[in-house]
């Protein structure tokens, strides 16, 4: 029996180290840039934290959905286009004087619908996720431009515009309401992934699809549900995008899917499936936001940021491979 206990202790220890790895990376990035910016008290201030969090909220909501997809061994390249389309849909609904809540629901529904379509194409037409969502990247972007008449949609001001502002409407909130919403959703989905049958089936699907099917899991239905619910999060990201820009812009968020995927991968997600966590993805998103912000504070050129973030993605994954090979 002692062997069992020792084995469990080692498993727990390994799990803890795996989870703490991205945390250490985030702290390192923050500390390094606090020094490099030349004004650590400003870089670490609540004011700057508000800026960083408001900047990262769109990538972070997208990363919640993408984490589910990547754990299930899928991929979604249509996130940027979905964000544009749903921001246009929300703005159009507001302009047609819908209730703001109904407009938000319309944006979420549009995102969920795109995800469900991705899921159906992947399962019933048996197109691999990379290609199916690459196609959707074009379709959704085109649909956004068509709906918006190839120009930005300017809706009336509502409470939606306060969701992702840098300074929260009430000072006791400390950060924007959208940030709290994202944190709450991250906690919820994290629990769903680890504590529910649905979550474990999602991991099983990504770990070994044939085994999942042999165990009686309806894998096709599960995939459609995964892409559709991830789509809801991309829809929410679109609403937040509309909130920040105060308009629906069909040309916005080009390439956001790559930031979202990078956040998941930096946080320990594996593109071959079965691995990843919401906490890790959130840390990945924050790490990139702190990096961008730090580079700006240090007065570096944009291209420096791009090079550093690119290198960090590769380094994070290389570190993960190295840890695996030692385990």
């Amino acid at each position: 029996m002692n062997a069992v206990l020792a084995q469990e202790y080692n498993d727990r220890k390994a799990g803890l180290i795996r989870r703490l790895g991205p945390f250490a990376g985030l702290i390192l990035v923050v500390l390094v840039f606090a020094v490099l910016s030349g004004a650590p008290e400003r870089y670490l201030s609540l004011g700057n934290l508000r800026v960083v969090l408001a900047q990262t909220v769109i990538v972070a909501t997208g990363a919640i959905g993408m984490t589910m997809i990547i754990i299930s061994a899928g991929i979604d390249l249509s996130v940027g286009s979905s964000v544009a389309l749903t921001s246009v849909v929300t703005a159009l609904a507001l302009r047609s004087s819908w209730d703001p809540a109904a407009a938000v629901l319309a944006g979420l529904f549009a995102g969920g619908l795109i995800g469900a379509m991705n899921g159906v194409v992947i399962t019933s037409l048996r197109v691999v996720p990379f290609i199916a969502t690459l196609g959707m990247l074009g379709v959704a972007r085109g649909a956004a431009k068509w709906l918006a008449g190839e120009q930005t949609v300017n809706p009336p001001q509502t409470w939606i515009n306060q969701l992702a502002v840098t300074f929260p409407p009430r000072s006791w909130m400390l950060v924007a309401p959208g940030v709290w919403l994202t944190i709450a959703l991250a906690v919820l989905i994290s629990l769903v992934l680890t504590r529910t049958v649905f979550g474990r089936h999602l991991f099983a699907l990504g770990s070994n699809e044939r085994a999942a099917r042999a165990c009686g899991i309806a894998t096709n239905r599960l995939k459609i549900i995964i892409y559709a619910s991830a789509g809801l999060f991309f829809g929410l990201a679109g609403v937040l995008q509309m909130s920040r820009l105060r308009q629906g812009d069909p040309t916005v968020a080009v390439g956001v899917e790559l930031d979202v995927i990078a956040a998941v991968v930096i946080g320990g997600g594996s593109l071959s499936g079965g691995e990843g966590s919401i906490l890790g993805s959130m840390i990945g998103a924050l790490m990139m936001a702190f990096l961008r912000n730090g580079c700006q504070q240090a007065g570096w050129h944009n291209y420096v940021q791009e090079i550093i973030i690119g290198a960090i993605i590769v380094f994070a994954v290389a570190l993960d491979r190295w840890r695996h090979s030692r385990a």
Partner: protein, 519 residues
Amino acid sequence: MAPLLKLQNIHKRFGPTVALAGVDLNVDHGEVHAIIGENGAGKSTLMNIISGVTSPDGGEIRIDESPFCPAGPLDARAAGIAYIHQELLLCPHLTVAENILLGTESANAGWLRRDAMRTRAGELLESFGRADISPESRVDALPLASQQIVEICRALAWRPKLILMDEPTSSLERGNIERLFAAIRRLKASGVAIIYISHFLEEVREIADRFTVLRDGISVQGGDLTSVSDDQLIEAMVGRSVEIIFEHQRSGAREEILLSVRDLSSPPMLQTASFDLHRGEVLGIAGLVGSGRTSLVRALFGLERPVRGEIRVSRSVRSPTVREGKAVADAGASGTPHERIMQGIGFVSEDRKNEGLALPLTLADNITLTRFELCATAGWISQSRQDEQAKQCMQKLKVRAFGPAAKVSSLSGGNQQKVALGRLLHQDPDILLLDEPTRGIDVGSKADLYAEISRLAESGKGIIMVSSYLPELFGICDRIAVMNRGRLSEARPVNDWTPPKVMEAAIATHESLVRGPQN
């Protein structure tokens, strides 16, 4: 009492290939029924039909008298049929408990009840006498044999009334096999029926009551196991009498040393190994599964990096790919597989699915893969030369396939194994490392492989053969060394050994551990 499962005149074809051409089968409640047959005889197709993976073209299936035509594996499972696959179907990232209860989790409105799952999985493991496997461990951290236990426990978790077991013992050693047999006897006593597929006739006799022999997709013979001899069974399987399987002439070993290994260590599995391999010799490596035998051959081939020790390949060993006069630098103990191949060493992995073969490629590509040079000019592959060379290998090893353009994934397990060895014949190395080359292979194919291995030794090759099957080690090897918990014994002539002595050497000093609890 009416039979639990009754199959009548089942037919199935895949394109031009006839897989089943008339199979009758009756399985009673509480019976262990063995299905015996050569590779490609249709055993796996039959199991797939019973478990709902594929549907038959003709014939009738009845379960407890009522017709049964499952639309998929779920229907078969609902009807109480569980299938333990020969190849493991586990989710490596999930825990033992999550794997065992996959699809039948304990939950409350969708939220998992972890304690209940842990208890249920723990009970199943304990009923198997393997309480030492923690339900909370990740499956990819377990050794292969324990993973197989998890796979078996998963089938039991559904409380089925019929269990299909396809070669369940292929990666288990004796202690675990006995636990499996004890579990089968308990299930049988509670009225569960088991269809048991195995190539080991000893095992079949030990556990099964009745048998059905399949040959070329037809059920040719059936009855009580007590009423037939091994020779009769083998004759029914191959359709001819196989008189002598092991006929290796032990005169080949010469003085010249091809490979010299000293104190080789590759933790955690391999602690120390020292031996010499002579020209014309077959050196057998016996031992339990997981004792470090695989680690030894992998380290020799450069797939694992040894931390200590010496591997010296004789200067006289030459890969045919090396052009005249171009010497190969001594790679020392840490050569890469590429360097080992250049030195004239070839390797057949025990893990043919992941390491042995490129399943989506054709037979011809697989056979010529390590030595494309032989069928290419200035980097351009000549299709006709490649097909010609592949055909030669196929004939030599009697591979059953429609031609060199067949995809390896479409072949049966035994024929795939022949292709893996065929790649080595084509490479034509001086030293051959064979890890369980006959695992999961029927008697007829085994005889073909033994003949080929003997011929290779006669022609002056040196062969290291890892095997769990003692009769074949005794039949074919010149010398045998035994691996025990990572330590390789001295290699001694086969006449100095007896099967009990080998077993003793394999389990010595931790005998009590191996016997373990046997409720």
